[in-house]
């Protein structure tokens, strides 16, 4: 078969997937891109072209900036805390630093089997200042003047971060565990022969060889952080006073509560551009140095 024929056959194989991709991804995104330049209420087909009007409005909208700030806040905090904790647990269970490592592996992964909505509802109950488990637990130790966890801006933000971390750590731990288990045992043996302790093995063997996985998880965390919606929507509804409002919840408010689909799509496109650029940047950094063993 000639090279040209090979190309045609390949095209034939790619075509169904491409058509699927075109219909359900590229076309909707292109349409959304178009909607970001119009005023549209979403209940009639009446659209009014506004040029860059929606973007200008967005730049002058203080709630957009507050939502963006909060989104970055949640992304950065979870992006730092989750990998640190996940790595700590992964090393602890793979290097058998704790008894019952298998039990912890399953337990930590458990939140991933529950939907984000269920997790948010669960924590919403747990954080109720009157009958929630957290307040009642603290009262056992004599704490009486307890805050309204989800009702005060600082605590509400901390609660969102805590729940996101709780829900995510297990997943990233499993990723790190699989990566650590892929590191040849010889390296650790060599370390031992050289007289290195557990910390030095971690620093000079585990950590460098995990760098690939850490970059991948970094992209995951970035996308996850910028998409923060369900936990906030259920636990605080963006409040109090927009202290936990994220771009995703603000998009929802504009589209479905205020009926401003055009403006909401403008923010959604901006969010898409931010996450896309950051993801590309991460992948580019990742490509520059890879470790082989």
């Amino acid at each position: 078969m000639s090279l040209q024929n090979n190309g045609r056959v390949a095209l034939l194989f790619v075509l169904p997937a491409f058509l699927f991709y075109l219909t359900f991804l590229i076309v909707p995104y292109a349409l959304a891109f178009g909607v970001s330049f119009v005023k549209w209420r979403g209940v009639t087909l009446n659209m009014e072209y506004t040029g860059l009007g929606n973007f200008a409005k967005m730049i002058g909208d203080p709630f957009f900036w507050k939502s963006l700030y909060n989104t970055v806040f949640f992304t950065v905090l979870t992006g730092i805390i989750v990998p640190c904790m996940a790595l700590y647990f992964a090393v602890a269970v793979t290097r058998k630093l704790v008894a019952g490592a298998r039990f912890f592996r399953i337990t930590f992964f458990f939140p991933n089997l529950i939907s984000q909505v269920a997790i948010a509802v669960l924590w919403w109950f747990a954080l109720n200042p009157e009958f929630g488990i957290l307040s009642n637990f603290l009262r056992l130790f004599g704490f009486t003047d307890l805050p309204s966890w989800l009702g005060e801006p600082g605590w509400a933000r901390a609660a969102i971060v805590a729940v996101k971390v709780w829900a995510a750590v297990g997943f990233y731990m499993v990723l790190y565990v699989s990566a650590i288990e892929g590191i040849p045992e010889d390296y650790y043996d060599a370390c031992k022969i050289d007289g290195a302790g557990e910390w030095q093995s971690f620093r000079h063997v585990t950590l460098p060889l995990l760098s690939e996985m850490m970059k991948v998880t970094g992209v995951f965390l970035l996308l996850n952080g910028f998409g923060t919606f369900d936990v906030v929507r259920i636990m605080t509804d963006g409040g109090p006073d927009r202290a936990t409002e994220t771009l995703a919840t603000y998009i929802y408010e504009n589209a479905f509560e205020l009926g401003k689909f055009g403006y909401a799509t403008t923010i959604a496109m901006t969010l898409f551009l931010i996450t896309f650029s950051l993801a590309m940047l991460s992948l580019w950094i990742q490509r520059r140095d890879s470790v082989e063993y």
């Binding site: 979403g42 954080l127 200042p129 309204s148 989800l150 009702g151 109090p240 205020l258």
Partner: protein, 452 residues
């Protein structure tokens, strides 16, 4: 071989899709169908089905197909987009009635208003409504929306607890503060007040009461009409200070700021707080949690002897609810369903099954009105019929959102009353400058019931 099995399985699945695609129940009902879609919430759906049965008795040739969902608007929106809406509609979440009207989705109901009332000789449909309740659904003198209930709001109290301790309803704000102090001192750990802190608009029932009683009808109308400076008048600042005072004196149950509506209401029913702001839907919303012997009464937000609004005036609203989509397949049948739904007979049925009053004259006669609802009606009678209803929440959703957020922040002591006023003024200004915002205005009628 394996790939062939997979292929056959896929083909079988594809074949199944023709038979298992889900049925549209409306298709089986024939051609002459009236479809109604309703918000399914605290009022349940019995009254909708009862009306459908009455409709079919009156018009045996038409089938009434009615259904409900808590997210009725979100679920029906694609049908509006494709030009296939139901014949009569009521949705509450995420809906902006006035923008829908502006977008040409809502049918004019003037002809329905002139029709004879269902089951009443010689009375026009329009004349069966409580005075002043139709205006909330009008725009430029035309009727577009009809109300579902005559919702009366104020502060509910646990009557059993009040009787046990000998506490009495306060009339003035000073008496209210004294009562709160007594409850705090002698209530055995019961907090004087809780509210639905996650949704600060519930506390707004107290705040709006204070504003009306301090500033009167003129201020209310100016706030609704976005008159420059209305949202930062001294009465607004005073209402904010008085609201904060409840927190500063520890009259509000700790943790309240994060309670959802059902949590706060449950906590109140459990007797951890003596009072809670809410509307007359409270009993039906909490009916599954209410102990049989639980006795609740509504009081007016306490007022001021030198205030511009009546000391016992009640917040009562018959806000927009039902409407007929312009593109409905059978709009006349939809209107007929509304004529029957809001008849004296069905309004009485609504009161006896749901426990809430519809704004239909005579619908409370001969019906066993629940004591809680009766207490609300009694409060209006005691105030000489003086009621008030702010409109900004329904007219300007952005203003309502900012109001909720700023009120929550004020109660949390995150912002000062001055900052609250400044934020509300800034949002009002933003709406005044926004060419897309539909502007409304209202002026005082002078007899306590504001005309739109």
């Amino acid at each position: 071989m394996r790939s062939k099995i997979v292929l056959v399985l896929l083909l079988v699945l594809y074949g199944c899709s023709f038979f298992l695609r889900g049925e549209d129940p409306k298709l089986d009902l024939g051609d002459n169908v009236m479809e109604g879609v309703f918000f399914q919430g605290g009022y349940g759906m019995q009254w909708v089905h009862d009306t459908a049965a009455e409709f079919e008795r009156a018009h045996p040739e038409i089938t009434a197909y009615v259904w409900g969902n808590p997210r009725a608007w979100d679920q029906t929106r694609p049908r509006f987009l494709s030009g296939n809406p139901p014949d009569v509609f009521w949705g509450i979440h995420n809906i902006n009635f006035w923008v829908n009207l502006h977008d040409g989705l809502v049918a004019n109901l003037d002809s329905l208003m002139e029709a004879p009332a269902y089951g009443q000789e010689g009375v026009k449909f329009r004349d069966t409504f409580f005075d002043g309740t139709l205006e909330e659904g009008q725009f430029e003198g035309h009727q577009y929306f009809l109300p579902i209930t005559y919702a009366i709001s104020g502060i509910w109290y646990n009557k059993g607890m009040f009787d046990e301790h000998g506490w009495t309803e306060p009339e003035t704000w000073d008496e209210f503060l004294a009562l709160c102090e007594t409850i705090k001192q002698t209530g055995g750990g019961v907090a004087p007040l809780t509210h639905q802190g996650k949704y600060p608009s519930y506390f707004g029932m107290i705040w709006r009461g204070l504003v009306y009683k301090l500033g009167g009808e003129q201020l209310m109308c100016d706030m609704d009409s976005l008159v420059p400076g209305a949202w930062s008048r001294p009465e607004i600042l005073e209402a904010c200070r008085l609201s904060r005072q409840l927190y500063e004196r520890d009259y509000v149950l700790p943790g309240t700021s994060s309670f959802s509506h059902t949590e706060a209401q449950m906590i109140w029913i459990q007797g951890k707080a003596a009072m809670i702001p809410c509307g007359t839907w409270l009993a039906s919303e909490m009916k599954n949690a209410l102990p049989e012997d639980f006795d609740m009464r509504l009081m007016s937000v306490p007022g001021f002897r030198d205030g511009k609004g009546g000391i016992g005036a009640m917040e009562a609203s018959a806000g927009p609810a039902f409407w007929i989509p312009v593109e409905a397949a059978n709009p006349l049948a939809g209107m007929e369903y509304l004529r029957i739904l809001l008849s004296r007979k069905m309004a009485a049925n609504f009161l006896s099954t749901v426990g809430s009053v519809q704004p239909i004259k005579g619908s409370t006669e001969g019906v066993n009105v629940p004591p809680a609802t009766q207490s609300a009606l009694d409060r209006i009678a005691a105030a000489g019929g003086e009621t008030f209803a702010f409109q900004f929440s329904g007219w300007y959703l952005e203003l309502e959102n900012e109001y909720r957020n700023a009120l929550g922040a004020l109660l949390n002591d995150d912002i000062t009353p001055e900052r609250f006023a400044a934020r509300m003024e800034a949002m009002a200004e933003r709406l005044r400058q926004d060419p897309d915002t539909i502007r409304f205005s209202r002026s005082p009628r002078g007899d306590g019931v504001a005309a739109l």
